[in-house]
Amino acid sequence: MPNLEHPAYPAAALLHLESLVPCRESQVSMLLSIFGERQQFSFPAIFIYGHTSSGKTYVMQTLLNTLQLPHVFVNCVEYFTSRLLLEEILIQLQSGSSETEETSHVPCDTFNDFVRLFKQAVVSRELQDQTLYIVLDRAERLRDMEANILPAFLRLQELTDSNVTVVLLSEIVWELFRPNVGCFDPLTLYFPDYSIGHLQKILSRNHPPEYTADFYAAYINILLGVFYMVCRDLKELRHLAALNFSKYCEPVVRGEANERDTRKLWKNIEPHLKKAMQTVYLREISSSQWERLQHDDGEPGQLKGLSAHTHMDLPYYSKFLLIAAYLASYNPVRTDKRFFLKHHGKIRKTNFMKKHEKTSNHLLGPKPFPLDRLLAILYSIVDNRVAPTANIFSQITSLVTLQLLSMVGQNDQLEGPRYKCTVSLDFIRAIAR
């Protein structure tokens, strides 16, 4: 195990840090060596990427907090415009120095203002001789903001002429970020996924106080055996572990088995976990409902999941409209005459369908169709006469708002709108019954 060593920081703090970031020691020591000592200039921009919940945010936060490095931590999803983002960074900077929260709130619209205000803030907090870290979580959102934001952050050290390092955290690789011109490439650092052994180790660490660590580790082992195939998200796994642990303990609590009786415990929990995978994990039923079920010892069969409620009641003509839309979307135009006209003449059977057309239209997805065609098909599939009343037309619009149809190219209302049918064959079958 590589021990964290760095001359600039006290050994006790490093030891504590090491205990907090299991399985990420090598990354942390790498980061430490990049950061260097407090007063040393660090690399201007660092880009850390890795899959969901591979510990990027957590490692950065614990590292900066335990070593008490001056830093600003901002989530780019939360501060969705550049203005909000920049202001938030400044606010965090100021609030760190003086506890008086009601600092006058300065508007910061452009990056130019930001650089000026940033310099002032650094001076006021007397941070000139320390490296300041700005961590931007979910940095892929920076691409959606103004074009200058990302390059400017990468060159912040140069622009502000002060000791600052920008750390970008993201789930996607740097190649997808790189703007076209004049960009300073950051130092990229990859956080690999946790392996099953890592997950086991991390999850077993926080066992409940009532039970021994070994007992909990055995439980985690079973849990991972079931869920590792579908889910490697640490947060999710921890959540699932907490949800199902009480069921695992049941035999022990009742006195039917002791803590070492793994086989018995496995038999008890395994089907339960499988059920959980089909319901709670997919969010078919919520975790609180799941807990209540566990508590009452009921069968999950009584509680229908979200997907079970597929049935939908529609007005009579809406059903026909939807069916007509489906037909219009998936049948080619030239077959309309054959299908919907009473006297369509002879059907020429000779290789009417070519080979490639037989590869079902369902694989190609819905095609757009004009309103007139929809109505024509509607008139031919409804038995009795349908008056083209305002109600029929308003139903088409309402189907669009319910996202059962979608409008294609809505540039001009008079232009003869075109629609697409967005529902599946199963849905249409259910409606047509």
């Binding site: 969901t52 999803v77 969705f80 003509y317 083209p388 319910l402 008079l414 232009e415």
Partner: protein, 706 residues
């Protein structure tokens, strides 16, 4: 409508003026005023009733929601120290509310929901609509605006500085929202010891913030995802609860949100009553009650129900349609002044004017009635007003009584028909009601077949039905049913006696009956054979005799009480039956109307000169009509030059039949201008559009107005 959003209620015109409008059409103004007030009071009563019905229907749903909301954050507040709570990922409690496809109807549900929440759980409620939130920024702005305003409302504008802070100056980010929440809750905490104990103490220490997404389907995926991700990061500081209003099916949640986002939510499902059941209840409470003197005729009811079932599924619209019926009835029928409660009837009948009496005499149903009377009475009815008034009062009272009895017997009949296989007379009571109103129900084939089926019911079913009928008749207010109830009770005791006397035989009979209910061919044959045998051997059992008797008795009740309303004298006063007016108002056909107007201008302009036979084109018609008719004869692309030629020929036809050929080459400038104007009018109406495929051509956008 399905789903057309009605504009919010406009300012009502002054009632005086409407009353004046009522009287404009008729001469006797004091009557009109009275009629107007009768109409208004009736509508107010009905409105109250419908509101009550809706409240009752939503009660279950709202109670469930309420308990969910109160549970959602209390769990976390109580046991934060426990191990599981620390380990568990903190999800945002979310209620998915399935409300049926008609989105505009949801408004009332949400309104009552937020009222209820405001009174019981939390003052912090924001409801968002998709059209206000195209981006996350707008969503946050809207959310914060609503939340901070509500704070001001609750504290009755105490702190002036909050009012002055305009929406734009607040940084619309989650952190400022959290800051606001902290100060708001702190403030209420401080206030509790002081004067505001009563108002604040009904909330807890930190009431949840409820965000309602009214129309989940219309929100863009990105906005929802961002909002959920952001708020899940702050769930520890801001106890948020989301409510999704879903019109289609809960699958939409999975379609809108990827797993990484939906795993941040703790979703529970709540389903409201289906709108069809809702309608049944409304019909039951409004139409099949004797509370209101006003009734709907068969055709009108059919129109309303059809609009509901075929087009919009909107109970709100059904009630609006009902309101329109009331208005139309009181507006168009001068005798509707008599459409009032029985208590007022006598006074009103006595104060009828001479004109009104003449109106009564002109009613078709009354004329039929007169013809049936003896000659002396006929003369008296036609000449003496006072006698007429007495007779009218009697007849109207009869009509009211008829309605009481009608409803009670209808319910009894429904008890029978609703349990028959395949429902020959309809499953819902409204179908039966329509059938009975339409014509004499006992003459229809469906009635025959349902009686046949009723004769095959088994005993236990029959007994429970009879018991239900007794209950219905006992609860109805009509006094005529004492005898009927006695008779039914007698039947019941007879069944009881049968059971005691012939227990063994009874077993075989009932099992045989059960066999009959099965429909597959083999069993049917078998039962038929058995039946034949049993007939041959012992003719009819006592049970069967009794069963025939019961069914015959029910039949006699039906024949006596379920006479269609239009067979009754003076039904025009209480029953509204002009369906065409209603259809014109509620189920408009703009395209057809446009076609009629352009194709046959006489229909709307009522100008004799415009009258012409089908097919020919009159040159007296407005230019646009001529152009329209000519364009009907063309294909998809129309040559403008040809069109102009044809137009000028038609227009010139009358003016200069003998014009020389040389001048006809050159089209007159005025005609040219008229043509251009007419064509651009057609373009404005959306019949044609300029085409780029061919020069000097326009494309048709219709096939010919359907």
């Amino acid at each position: 409508g399905c789903f057309v959003f009605k504009p919010s209620v406009k300012k009502r015109r002054l009632s005086q003026r409407i009353a004046h409008d009522f009287s404009n059409r008729n001469d006797n103004s004091e009557d009109a005023e009275l009629r107007f007030f009768t109409c208004q009071s009736l509508w107010n009563q009905i409105k109250l009733e419908t509101e009550k019905v809706q409240e009752d229907l939503n009660k279950q749903l709202l109670d469930n929601l309420l308990s969910f909301l109160s549970r959602s954050h209390s769990e976390f507040q109580e046991k934060t120290s426990e191990w599981t709570c620390q380990m568990k990922f903190r999800e945002i409690p979310t209620a998915a509310l399935i409300l049926g496809v008609n989105v505009p109807d949801h408004d009332s549900t949400f309104r009552s929901l937020s009222d209820l929440l405001q009174n019981n759980i939390t003052p912090y409620i924001a409801s968002l609509e998709a059209k206000d939130c195209p981006g996350i920024k707008n969503l946050m702005q809207k959310l914060m605006g609503q939340l901070m305003n509500c704070y001001i409302d609750v504290d009755s504008l105490e702190d002036e500085d909050y009012v002055q802070v305009s929406q734009n100056r607040i940084r619309c980010s989650m952190s400022s929202l959290i800051k606001w929440y902290k100060t708001a809750t702190k403030k209420t905490d401080c206030e509790i010891p002081s004067q505001k104990r009563t108002s604040s103490s009904k909330y807890w220490q930190s009431p949840p913030v409820v965000v309602i997404f009214k129309d989940m389907e219309s929100f863009t995926t990105k906005v929802l995802q961002d909002f959920i991700v952001i708020s899940s990061q702050h769930i520890h500081e801001l106890p948020l609860v989301l409510i999704f209003g879903i019109a289609t099916s809960p699958m939409i949640i999975h379609r809108l949100l990827p797993h990484s986002v939906s795993s941040l939510l703790c979703i529970e499902l709540f389903q409201s009553l289906s709108c069809k059941e809702h309608l049944s209840t409304v019909i039951d409470k409004l139409l099949l009650s004797d509370q209101f003197p006003f009734k709907l005729g068969e055709k009108v009811l059919q129109v309303l129900i059809n609009i509901f079932l075929y087009h919009d599924f909107s109970v709100q619209n059904f009630i609006k349609g009902f309101q329109l019926c009331i208005l139309e009835h009181f507006y168009s029928q001068p005798l509707s002044i008599l459409c009032c409660q029985l208590v007022d009837l006598k006074k009103r009948v006595n104060s009828l004017s001479y004109d009104q009496c003449e109106n009564i005499r002109r009613l078709p149903s009354f004329r039929r009635y007169v013809e049936k009377q003896e000659s002396e009475k006929q003369i008296a009815l036609l000449t003496t007003d006072n006698f007429l008034k007495e007779e009218t009062q009697k007849l109207l009272e009869d009509l009211h009584v008829y309605h009481y009895n009608y409803v009670a017997v209808l319910r009894c009949l429904h008890v029978f028909t609703s349990s028959l296989p395949k429902y020959p007379l309809g499953k819902q009571i409204r179908d039966l009601h329509c059938a009975c109103l339409e014509n004499q129900v006992w003459e229809t084939e469906e009635y025959e077949s349902s009686l046949q089926l009723a004769r095959m019911l088994n005993k236990s079913e029959l007994v429970t039905m009879l018991q239900q009928c007794v209950e219905i008749l006992l609860s109805s207010s009509g006094k005529e049913f004492d005898k009927t109830v006695e008779k039914l009770k007698e039947f019941l005791t007879q069944f009881q006696n049968l059971e005691e006397a012939f227990q063994e035989r009874d077993v075989s009979v009932s099992s045989q009956k059960e066999l009959q209910k099965k429909t597959d061919l083999y069993h049917l044959q078998k039962t038929l054979l058995e039946l034949k045998e049993s007939r041959r051997s012992k003719k009819l059992t006592k049970f069967e005799m009794l069963r025939f008797e019961v069914v015959d008795y029910i039949d006699s009740l039906v024949r006596k009480y379920l006479v269609p309303a239009d067979h009754r004298t003076l039904h025009e006063i209480l029953y509204f039956n002009t369906a065409t007016v209603l259809r014109g108002h509620l189920n408009a056909a703009p395209r057809t109307a446009l076609h009629t107007a352009l194709n046959n201008p006489h229909w709307y302009l009522k100008n004799e000169a415009l009258k012409c036979d089908e097919g020919s084109i009159s040159n007296k018609a407005p230019d646009i009509c001529i152009v329209y008719k000519l364009h009907l004869e063309c294909g998809r692309l129309i040559n403008l030059v040809d069109w102009l030629e044809a137009f000028s020929t038609v227009v010139m036809a009358a003016e200069a039949p003998n014009a020389d050929t040389a001048s006809s080459d050159q089209v007159d400038d005025t005609i040219h201008a008229r043509f251009i104007r007419a064509v651009s009018e057609l373009e404005l109406l959306g019949f044609i559009k300029p085409s780029k495929q061919k020069t000097d051509h326009v494309a048709r956008l219709t096939w010919g107005g359907c």
